[in-house]
Symmetry: C2
Subunit: 411 residues, 2 copies
C-alpha cells in the first residue's frame, strides 16, 4: 500500500549533510550567494546525487537544476517539487536546501518502489530564490514571467549578474527561453522551514501555507539642507535625519496598532553628506512592508506614505518616493492544501494553516500552475543566520508529508 | 597717520578671485579637500602671490604655507595672521580663503607703507583646518600639540593621510618637527566668515569672537539582532533602527529644551547588514555636540549618554560607545579683543561679541599664544556649501579691521 510508504531518513540526511558541507561557513551556516563558487559547487554536488540515484539530470536556460523521474504515462504532465540551493550571505543550512533534498528523496522513494503515477516527477533547484541578483529569477524564467528589464537593472548590480552568469555558463537569451509550456506542469510543491516561531509556539508539526505575503518596497528620500553643524542654531536646521527617524518609529507603531497581520521594515538609511559636522541634507531610507491580504495593501500603502509626508512636513523637509516593486500576495491552491492536510492526518502529524511571511518561488508559479507549500518548525524562528535550526525529526516529518501529498494527488 | 591706513580692496579681490577659480566646482563653490590636486594648486597659487608681492615665502614640516614680512626689530616676535585654503567637499569660496587673502593684503599694505612695527608679520595658510584627514593638523603641529597617535589613526583614514602627505611632499617626522618656540609668537589673529545668521539678523558689521565652542564626538552603536523581515513578527524584533531613531529625536529635544546655548548633530547612521529584507542588527551613529561652556560639558555629555542608554533599553538593544575626541571650548584673548573693538570703533564699524559655533585653528593656538578672531556676516548663514556668500564690502570691512587691529597692537 502506497499510504504506508515513507522516505529513508538516513539517506536524506546523508545527502543533506553533503550540501551543508558545501559552502559551509564553519559555524553551522552556509555562505552560497547565487553563482558564487560555493553555490556552483552545491549545484555540482546535487547533479552528482541525481546521477548516483539513477535519475535523469536536467539544467535549463535559467540554470535551474533538476532530477527527473519519468514515472507517468506518455504525455502526462510533470509535478514539480523543489526549492533552492542558493543562500543569503552567511545564511542557514536548512533554508532552501531542505526542500531540494526532500524533493530528491521523494523521487528516490517513488523510484525504489517502481510506482506508476498519473504525472512525472521532477525535483528542482531554482536559481536565485534569495534575490542576490534578481529575486525569484529561476522560477520566474520557468513560468515565463521574467521581466527582461530586470536583467538590465538587477537589484544585485548589472556587472555582478553578468559576471555570475558567465561563471555559471548562462546567457540572457537562454534565461528568457527557459519558459515551459503552461500545460506541461501538474503543479508545484515545496517543503520549507517556517522561518518564524508560530509552529514552535503552537507545538504543531506541519504548517500548510494558505498564502504567501505580498511585498511592496520603496526608497524614501527625506530631503533637507546641509548646514554647518556648529554654527547653525537648532531651530534653523532642516535636518533630514529627523524626518527619517520619526517616520521609522511611527511606521512601526502604525503597523502594530492598525495592521497587526502585516510587517514593516526600515532596513537601511544612507545619509548625505554623512559627516559628523554637517547637518544631514538627505536620508535615503529602504522601506519594505508585507501583507497577506491583497485588498489591504492599498490602505497600508496609503497610510505609510501619508505618515512619511506628515513627518517630512513636520521637520520642514521635502519627500520623494521611488517605488521598487509591488509583489502582491498569492493564494495557495485549495486542492493541494486539502491533499496536504489529508496526508498529515494519515501520518498522524498535527497541522495548521498559516500564511508565509517570507517570499518563495511559489509566487512566480502561482499564476502558472497550482502551488502548495509545507512548513516545518524553525527553532526560535531564526533564519537567514547561522542560528537557523530545525530538528531532523521535523525535517523527516515534512518529507513524509510531501511524499504522501504526491501520492494522494497521483491517485 | 597709520590710523588712516586702509587695505586695497581691488588688489585683495583680484587675489581672492584667483583662489575662487582654483578648484572651482563651477557653482560658486570650491572643492579643495586637504592634499587634493586642487588644494595643492591653491597653495601653489598662494606661493606665487607671495613672491609677486615681494614677501618671503615659507613652508614648514606640516605643510603650513606662509608669507613673512620682517617689519619688526631684530629678535622681535612674530604676529601670525591667517586661516586656511583647504575646504570641505563641495564647500564655499569664502571659508578660510578670505582669512588668508586678508592676511596677505594686510602684509602688502604694511610693506607698501614701509611701516616698522614692534613685531614681524606672517600671513599663514594652515594645513587641514577642515579635518578631511586630521582636524586642525597644521595649527596643532605649529603649536607643538599634535598628537602622534592621530597620524596613526586619522579620522580621514590612514591610507588617505599618507597618500596625501606623499603628494604634498610631507613626512611624519617633518609634521612633528614643525613646532615653534613658544616665545616666537606675539599672537594669532584670524578673519573668518561667521557661518551663522547672527550678524545678518542684528545688522552688525563685525563679530568679535569671545570663545570658540568645544566639540565632543562619539560613535554610538545600537546593537540588536538580524532577523528575517518577513517572517519575524513586529514584537519579536530587536531592531537597532528604533533605538537610533528614538535617540536622534530625543537628543534634539533635550538640547533645545535644557541646553539652549548648545547644539547636537547626528550626521550619519550606518546600518548592518543594511538590506531591505533584514531587520537591522546594528546602527552606527555619528554623534557630535558643542558647548561654549567648559563647565557645562560634563552635564550635557551625561544627559546625552543617559538618553542613548534609555532608548537602547526601551527597544531591547545593547549600547556601545566610542569616544572620538573631546575638544574643550577656548577663550579668546582679552587684550586682542579690546584692540579689535577699538579698531572697529575707529573705522565706524558696528561690532558685537559672540562665540564661534564652528571650530577654528585658534583652538590649537589658544594655549600657545594670545588668539583673537573677527567675523564678517554670512548671507543666510550658509556655509560648507556653494550657497556660502559674504558681500565684498563686508570682506573689505573685515580686512580693514584686521589691519587696524595689527597697527593698534604694534603701537
Amino acid at each position: 500500500m502506497s499510504s504506508d510508504l515513507r522516505i529513508d531518513p538516513d539517506r536524506m540526511l546523508a545527502a543533506f549533510d553533503q550540501l551543508a558541507a558545501t559552502g559551509s561557513a564553519g559555524d553551522g551556516g552556509v555562505h552560497r550567494p547565487t553563482f558564487s563558487e560555493a553555490h556552483l559547487a552545491a549545484r555540482a554536488r546535487f547533479r552528482q546525487q541525481i546521477q548516483e540515484a539513477g535519475l535523469l539530470f536536467r539544467v535549463d536556460g535559467a540554470g535551474n537544476h533538476s532530477a527527473s523521474l519519468p514515472c507517468g504515462t506518455e504525455g502526462a504532465p510533470t509535478l514539480l517539487i523543489g526549492s533552492h540551493l542558493d543562500s543569503v550571505p552567511n545564511g542557514g543550512r536548512f533554508d532552501g536546501t531542505l526542500g531540494v533534498m526532500a524533493a530528491l528523496e521523494v523521487l528516490r522513494t517513488v523510484k525504489d518502489h517502481g510506482l506508476k503515477l498519473k504525472f512525472h516527477l521532477e525535483a528542482i533547484d531554482f536559481t536565485d530564490e534569495e534575490g542576490t541578483l534578481v529575486g525569484l529569477l529561476g522560477s520566474a524564467a520557468l513560468a515565463g514571467c521574467l521581466d527582461p528589464a530586470l536583467l538590465q537593472s538587477p537589484r544585485g548590480g548589472h556587472e555582478q549578474l553578468h559576471q555570475g552568469m558567465q561563471r555559471a555558463g548562462l546567457t540572457e537569451s537562454g534565461m528568457l527561453s527557459a519558459a515551459r509550456p503552461r500545460d506541461s506542469l501538474a503543479g508545484y510543491l515545496e517543503l520549507h522551514i517556517e522561518q518564524g516561531k508560530r509552529l514552535e509556539r503552537l507545538g504543531i508539526d506541519i504548517g500548510i501555507v494558505s498564502a504567501i505575503v505580498g511585498i511592496w518596497s520603496y526608497r524614501v528620500y527625506f530631503i533637507g539642507r546641509a548646514d554647518h553643524a556648529g554654527s547653525t542654531s537648532m531651530d534653523d536646521r532642516r535636518d533630514a535625519s529627523l524626518g527619517a527617524s520619526a517616520f521609522t518609529l511611527a511606521a512601526r507603531a502604525l503597523v502594530m496598532q492598525d495592521f497587526p497581520n502585516c510587517v514593516v521594515n526600515v532596513g537601511r538609511m544612507d545619509f548625505t553628506p554623512g559627516a559628523f559636522n554637517i547637518v544631514p541634507a538627505r536620508v535615503d531610507l529602504a522601506l519594505e512592508f508585507r501583507s497577506p491580504d491583497a485588498a489591504q495593501f492599498d490602505r497600508l500603502n496609503a497610510a505609510l506614505l501619508q505618515l512619511a509626508q506628515d513627518q517630512a512636513r513636520r521637520f520642514g523637509l521635502e519627500l520623494k518616493l521611488e517605488s521598487l516593486g509591488k509583489h502582491f500576495p498569492c493564494q495557495m491552491d485549495d486542492r493541494l492544501r486539502q491533499a496536504m492536510a489529508a496526508a498529515c492526518d494519515a501520518l498522524d502529524l498535527t497541522h495548521v494553516s498559516l500564511p508565509s511571511g517570507a517570499g518563495h518561488d511559489g509566487q512566480s508559479l502561482s499564476g502558472f500552475c497550482p502551488v502548495g507549500m509545507l512548513f516545518v518548525p524553525s527553532v526560535d524562528g531564526a533564519s537567514h543566520s547561522a542560528r537557523e535550526f530545525t530538528a531532523w525529526s521535523d525535517c523527516v516529518n515534512g518529507a513524509n508529508a510531501l511524499l504522501q501529498t504526491v501520492l494522494r494527488l497521483a491517485s
